[in-house]
Amino acid sequence: MSDNLTLPAQQSPAGASAEPLLTVEGLTKHFPIYGGFPIKRKVGAVQAVDKVDLTVGAGESVGLVGESGCGKSTTGRLITRLLEPTGGKITYAGHDITHASRRELAPIRSEIQMIFQDPYSSLNPRQTVGTIIRSPMEVNGIEPAGGREKRVRELLELVGLNPEHYNRFPHEFSGGQRQRIGVARALALQPKLIVADEPVSALDVSIQAQVVNLLQKVQQEMGIAFLFIAHDLAVVRHFSQRVAVMYLGKVVEVGDRDSIYNRPRHPYTHALLSAVPEVAVDDEPEDRERIRLAGDVPSPIMPPSGCRFRTRCWKAQDKCATEEPPLVRLSDSREGHLTACHFPEEPTTEARDEDIVLDPGLKALEDENAGTD
């Protein structure tokens, strides 16, 4: 039922424009590590983002999920060009902006805006809300009809704040309200693409939904494309038409929402989905697979060779260590559903005959407790 409902909807924005709004090819960011005495030399690099391919269509919302340290925020910052890429190519509306200078970027900057995670540190405490929202217009020399102040009041109203609060300071607002100010600031220049980096994860549960609904309203009514970066899989699923899953600086799987959440192929996507704790609201027995990985994500300074997930994967074989799997469409996947794996899983999230438990401590305890039961 929901398949039929969601599928045509997500293909229309992608199909409407032949050229995607944003194309990222082979995007790479390595942060150098310096060491040694007395002369500091480059001794290594944190491979935060490594050859990431991504496209965002006009008006489309793309989710980027992954655990901490997988490079999802760095990808967002590279796309907004807050960081200089080490390699690869970023094309925005036909322009190559990979290494564009400040001056070349100026007209594009107003079209790509960002919403930050922490509503406490991303607003200047010394400026009033009016100044904060007005300054992007001042910087870009935009004179809206009726004056900037009128536009600020309109924006405040749009994001659900009282326009009278124009002269208040950020500390007078709660976390959710501050995030709304951040949204208003991002909207001030009528952008075409918003990169939202964990926009709701710092907020309380009851406030999260308010901000998610606001972003969704903005996305649908104003036709703004979103790159929605978050670690919460349920929020990303709710917001995004297409989803990319990242692991240690690489995109391991990308596809439409239904493919990723109901027909995942990469073992990591399976593990990630099975780890999400879900509220049981009805009496139907849970029919989800149970996968418990061992240990934590390896360090991006020395990532595993070949497939980066192989050190935590239950299907890993010799081939995974030597050969890096390409991000390709598998034979029985849908159009646009790409997976980087040599030994993909069955496209289902239903419970398996036997749970996969890789954690040694947990496995020992489970065997022990099962024996005594």
């Binding site: 929901s2 655990e67 406030i207 308010q210 609201v281 934590d296 954690d359 401590g361 947990l362 407790n369």
Partner: protein, 353 residues
């Protein structure tokens, strides 16, 4: 209503005395701006071997409650009233010496952030061994062996060498495992876990939660599990307490509260959360407004300014009269049982699809 309460009482296998009993607990902090009523008349029981989940938003008083149980509040700035009885022993009036004997021995705590809760100055092994030596009088050698045993149990690879590592040499998930090892080293009867997985990634969170469940089965501790994540609670707890503005607003078994919630706040929490199996075409239903300030909580029911059903409860009763929370399965709300059931089935349940 009453029959429900009775059946709930009948299912409890243990004797009449619960292991931990908190009665009418009130914790106040005096600040420059006035008196903060962090916990205001809270009562709950925990039975041996069971897990009580406490959910609530930030500032709802859930962490303060548990710091108070362990006597970790600052006595200079806070006043505590009420009763906390642990296995027949009154804790509110207990002296520092008695509390010291309890902490880490009979009652242990797992904190949210393992990096700040572990000392960077001592090895992990020493930090695990210390409470064991203090409470059991074991020698250094025995305690070290015990620390290695605990590290093995929580699934740290190469425990014999890792026992001499410092916390910074551990990853986030391993630090939380070390914290669990430290908390369980004396086989505590009560374990308080304050958002133990909030700082962790989902895949690591799933490992830690399963580990806690298995260890509980083995050790038989009672757990008080504090979190803001209803999904985690649904997975972990037997009983559930929903807190709002320093008070409990709903209580019952996890099944009852999550499948047939009775308080508008619980309805709001459940319908504002996106779910993996939910309908994406449907917008989320957030709770309007924001959590109240504890300096100046709203009159009557603290939730009434954000509640959509005050009119149905009748007049301005919600704004003037504070609803009480009955014993057993209950919700502190003025709506009648029929109204609650009707609203839940007609309005709330369709939103949970």
């Amino acid at each position: 209503m009453t029959t429900l309460t009775k059946t709930e009482g009948a299912t409890a296998p243990t004797g009449p005395e619960p292991f931990l009993s908190v009665r009418d607990l009130r914790v106040r902090f005096s600040t420059e701006d006035g008196i903060v009523k962090a916990v205001d008349g809270l009562s709950f029981d925990v039975e041996r071997g069971k897990t009580l989940g406490i959910v609530g938003e930030s500032g709802s008083g859930k962490s303060v409650t548990n710091l108070t149980i362990l006597g970790l509040h600052n006595p200079k700035t806070s006043t505590v009233e009420g009763e906390i009885v642990l296995d027949g022993q009154e804790l509110v009036t207990a002296g520092e010496k008695e509390m010291e004997k309890l902490r880490g021995n009979k009652v242990a705590m797992i904190f949210q952030d393992p990096l700040t809760a572990l000392s960077p100055y001592y090895t992990v092994g020493r930090q695990i061994a210390e409470p064991y030596m203090k409470h059991t009088g074991a020698s250094k050698k025995e305690a070290r062996a015990r620390a290695i045993e605990m590290l093995t149990k929580v699934g740290i690879p190469q425990p014999k060498t890792r026992v001499d590592d410092y916390p910074h040499q551990f990853s986030g998930g391993m630090r939380q495992r070390a914290m669990i090892a430290m908390a369980l080293v004396c086989d505590p009867d009560l374990l308080i876990a304050d958002e133990p997985t909030t700082a962790l990634d989902v895949t690591v969170q799933a490992q830690i939660l399963d580990l806690l469940k298995e260890l509980q089965q083995e050790v038989g501790s009672a757990i008080v599990f504090i979190t803001h994540d209803l999904g985690v609670i649904s997975d972990m707890a037997d009983d559930l307490l929903v807190m709002y503005s320093g008070r409990a607003v709903e209580r019952g078994s996890v099944r009852e509260v999550l499948r047939a919630p009775r308080h508008p706040y619980t309805w709001g929490l459940l319908s504002s959360m996106p779910r993996l199996g939910g309908d994406t075409a449907q917008a989320l239903n957030p709770i309007p407004g924001s959590p109240p300030s504890l300096l100046n909580p709203p009159s009557g029911c603290a939730f009434h300014p954000r509640c959509a059903f005050t009119a149905e409860a009748g007049g301005d009763r919600c704004a003037t009269d504070r609803p009480a929370l009955a014993d057993g399965r209950a919700a502190a709300c003025h709506l009648t049982a029929d109204q609650k059931q009707r609203i839940f089935i007609d309005t709330i349940q369709p939103r949970l699809r």
